[in-house]
Amino acid sequence: MRYLPHTDAERAAMLATIGVADIGALFAAVPERARLKAPIDLPPHAPEYLVEARMRALAGKNRTGADGPFFIGAGAYRHHVPATVDHLIQRSEWLTAYTPYQPEVSQGTLQMLFEFQTQVAHLTGMEVANASMYDGSTATAEAVLMAKRLTRRNRIVLSSGLHPHYRDVVRTYVGDGPDLVVIPHSAAGTLPLTIDDRTAAIVVQTPDFYGSLRNIEELAEIAHDAGALLIVVVTEIVSLGLLEAPGALGADIVVAEGQSIGNALSFGGPYVGLMATRASFVRQMPGRLCGETVDAEGRRGFVLTLSTREQHIRREKATSNICTNSGLCALAFSIHMSLLGEAGLRKLARLNHARACALADALEKVPGLELITHSFFNEMAVKLNRPGAPVVDALAAKGILAGVPVSRVDPEHPDVADLLVLAATELTTDDDIAALTAGLTEALK
């Protein structure tokens, strides 16, 4: 077996040093009835070329984003990732390093995390960011818990337009009940009525699930007037190259899905959650934090810090559920962001918006649908003259991936069954848009 270094002779020599006759003797503590009597019923080891053939066969059954017109977003976006990013993250010293608990032999990872935290803080307009979370959805749930700790209040208001999966994850983390107020899409205007002096936080996504840009400043005022916090969720991080930073608009905690920068779609993971907040809240923020310090000779160095907040240290006093984070995805994010720089990110964001405008213009001409998102970054919702799911299936059969039927992610609200959410990115061509509108025109007849 190519991954196992020992020969039988070496095993025998080692057993002799240990002083036992065979490896079985080392398992003596395992009770007799717990031991597997026959070899496990799984195929035997295989040469690399056979494993590769098997995996290629599985991969070949999937339709990739490059195979045709592609308009799916809804929390994960198909962007180009420079070749440099993937090359660098595969370097052994990044890929196969452990968590930087021993800072003297982990300065590469730690400095990178320090740079990452700075990038995220600047992007979001907040004072401090952590070293990453699992993904945007779990970061949102952790932000909700953080707001409850900070305010010592229990009521959470999820605004309409929060990604339904994010809503469901928050529900799982904090529990369903009267203290979790979910504003449905059909009742968007009622949010201010639900805010009271028991409210810990308002959670708002922008651009929201339907692509709409939300007025953060107004919600921040509503929240702060009631002594609550405003949590801003961003699922398309490229948008912050064009849109105002939530921190500049009064957000108290900003959480985001960072996948769009540096990370492939990968069917949903691994992704990278971003979390940023006010400096005064840092001791209630979950997740790892990297800080600057000096070594014994006074030279600048970096360490994981404030770890007494973290769950593996706090044990039963812990307040969050994150230990391992998304280090390598954070690295990919940071490299891609460095390659873009301010100038590149602004260009990329404008390009995304321009492609989305082209998509919107084309969709508005399709009979049988109505564009319901009027201000957007790169994503929009349309109302069809029939349920969305069969339309998406019909177009998929023609090789066009025409967005996400809202009923798929939000079946608990039947009033959205005829909505479709579509995204455009820098990879969306005019030909793609033409194929989509032709397909939709046909399907909606």
Binding site: R11, I40, M55, A76, S137, F267, G291, G298, R299, Q311
Partner: protein
């Protein structure tokens, strides 16, 4: 270009060569991105398009981004130079107990990057991702066969997330049985810190179970702690002392008899895969760290993956989404009615890690996985045998599983702490072992070599440990308290970092 402007040498440590503050010529200090990058630089070529503002509702950015850019050659050099300041499994052994730092095969990486896996969206129509669903089903089959369990929730993003998922399944099952009032979770003192953290996170109060003198949990102590208030027990097996819990079946029986469930922390599954099946022990839920046992890379701290296998009793409460065989092929079940525990992440979990782990499993095969477990146990016992006469064994001279636990009695009176000793190991070319864990052993040193290390490396490691121990006892405390001396930086001041946190780059005044 401004070099490191903050934290420059203050004249301490006069013995260092003059050039030391710049690092050596082959391992130079690397300035921060914010000190070398430029707002005008970019390493990507993109068309500069004009846009109108009619669709932006006045929300355009007015505050500057202050994100410096690097051209491609600058970026390459920055990140390659930084990388060289890291230790990694490809450059040397990590004797890190409870972390399972094994070899990360590159076939796994190659397969994860096939466009058929990397360039597919979690919300594509299921008819277009049948290969992905088949992969998830195949991975599930391997995990369930290795554990003899009923169901698996693949999507937990890491071990702690898996613990949360498993304990939520237990809570949901208790509630469904009208037993939602059960509020106590038993956790042995030797448990990973994440275990009591997870129980407390879910609102349970934690009751500690003391360890026996031999390092294992006493079934009688468990029985004494069980009551109608107990929802479950969280136990690691093999435990964090590197020992198999001899009475685990009796413990499971007692737990079930009391109407509680048995959560097993599977962080140490590497010791027993293909040899012992957790389902045969009476376990109800166990997470499996794909980034430990199944060789997906640690990546400097994630991404991980922590699928949870569930017993028949807990299977109905598994979170969504999951895959199952339906009439039209493999289905992805994203919504179900009933008392399941809900959704724990937005999409389908760590697909990139599923691909890597399954590639590893197919490479090893059932026979290879069992042999890997046996070799991992062999390697740990070899280290124990070679070091046990000098490094004190807290639980006597008994075989260990995949990790060997030592305590710091051998350092008594030397003026060298366990931390100093571990830092000196860096100067010998090794990553430090796990220190001060488990908490039940004084000055614990937990060594897990994994099956990846050849005998020569184990010998070199043991030789280095013995030389260091002899040095400590000979009174050479200074090489320990000053260690590391041959790393890119000297001992870092962690107290200072925590006292006045600097968590991002600030422009010099």
């Amino acid at each position: 270009m401004s070099m490191n402007t903050q934290g420059r040498p203050t004249g301490i440590g006069g013995s260092a060569p003059a050039a030391a503050d710049k690092g050596s010529s082959l391992l130079p200090d690397e300035p921060l991105l914010f000190e070398i990058g430029d707002i005008g630089h970019s390493g990507v070529d993109l068309p500069d398009v004009e846009i109108g503002d009619s669709r932006l509702a006045g929300f355009q950015r007015k505050t500057p981004l202050e994100l410096p850019g690097l051209t491609e050659p600058e970026a390459m050099r920055h990140y390659v130079r930084l990388s060289r300041r890291n230790y990694s499994i490809d450059s040397g052994m990590y004797p890190l107990g409870s972390c399972t730092m094994k070899h990360n095969p590159r076939l796994n990486e190659k397969m994860a990057r096939l466009p058929g896996f990397s360039d597919i969206h979690p919300l594509q129509p299921v008819s277009t991702v049948q290969g992905a669903l088949e992969l998830m089903q195949l991975l599930s089959h391997w995990l369930l066969t290795l554990t003899n369990m009923e169901a698996v929730a693949l999507m937990p993003k890491a071990g702690a997330h898996g613990e949360m998922c498993g304990m939520m399944a237990i809570r949901a099952a208790q509630q469904a049985r009208g037993q939602g009032h059960r509020s106590v979770v038993l956790v042995p003192e030797s448990a990973h810190g994440t275990n009591p953290a997870t129980a407390a996170f879910l609102g349970y109060s934690v009751k500690a179970i003391p360890a026996r003198a031999d390092g294992t949990v006493d079934v009688e102590a468990v029985k004494a702690a069980l009551s109608p208030e107990v929802a479950g027990i969280m136990l690691t097996n093999p435990n964090t002392c590197g020992l198999f819990e001899r009475e685990i079946i009796e413990i499971a029986e007692a737990v079930h008899e009391a109407g509680a469930y048995f959560y097993c922390d599977g962080a140490n599954f590497n010791a027993i895969m293909g040899v012992v099946r957790p389902g045969d022990l009476g376990i109800d839920a166990m997470h499996i760290n794909l980034h430990k046992t199944f060789s997906t890379p640690h990546g400097g701290g994630g991404p991980g993956a922590g699928p949870v296998v569930l017993s028949k009793a807990l299977a109905p409460f598994a979170p969504v989404p999951f895959v199952r065989l339906g009439a039209a092929g493999i289905e992805l079940v994203e919504h179900i009615e009933g008392e399941h525990l809900g959704r724990i992440t937005a999409f389908n979990g760590q697909m990139g890690m599923y691909v890597r782990a399954l590639t590893y499993m197919l490479s090893h095969g059932g026979d290879g996985l069992a042999q890997a477990a046996k070799d991992a146990v062999l390697n740990a016992n070899y280290v124990r045998a070679r070091l046990g006469h000098v490094f004190s064994l807290p639980f006597g001279d008994q075989p260990c599983m995949h990790e060997a636990l030592f305590d710091d009695h051998f350092l008594e009176g030397t003026g060298v702490s366990t931390l100093d000793f571990a830092k000196a190991l860096i100067d010998e070319g090794f990553h430090p072992m796990t220190m001060y864990f488990p908490l039940v052993v004084h000055g614990a040193m937990l060594v897990e070599p994994t099956e990846s290390e050849p005998k020569q490396t184990l010998d070199a490691f043991c030789d280095a440990m013995l030389v260091l121990a002899a040095d400590a006892r000979a009174g050479n405390a200074e090489r320990f308290t000053a260690a590391p001396m041959r790393a890119p930086v000297r001992r870092l001041d962690e107290t200072r970092a925590a006292r006045s946190p600097r968590l991002k780059w600030e422009r010099a005044e």
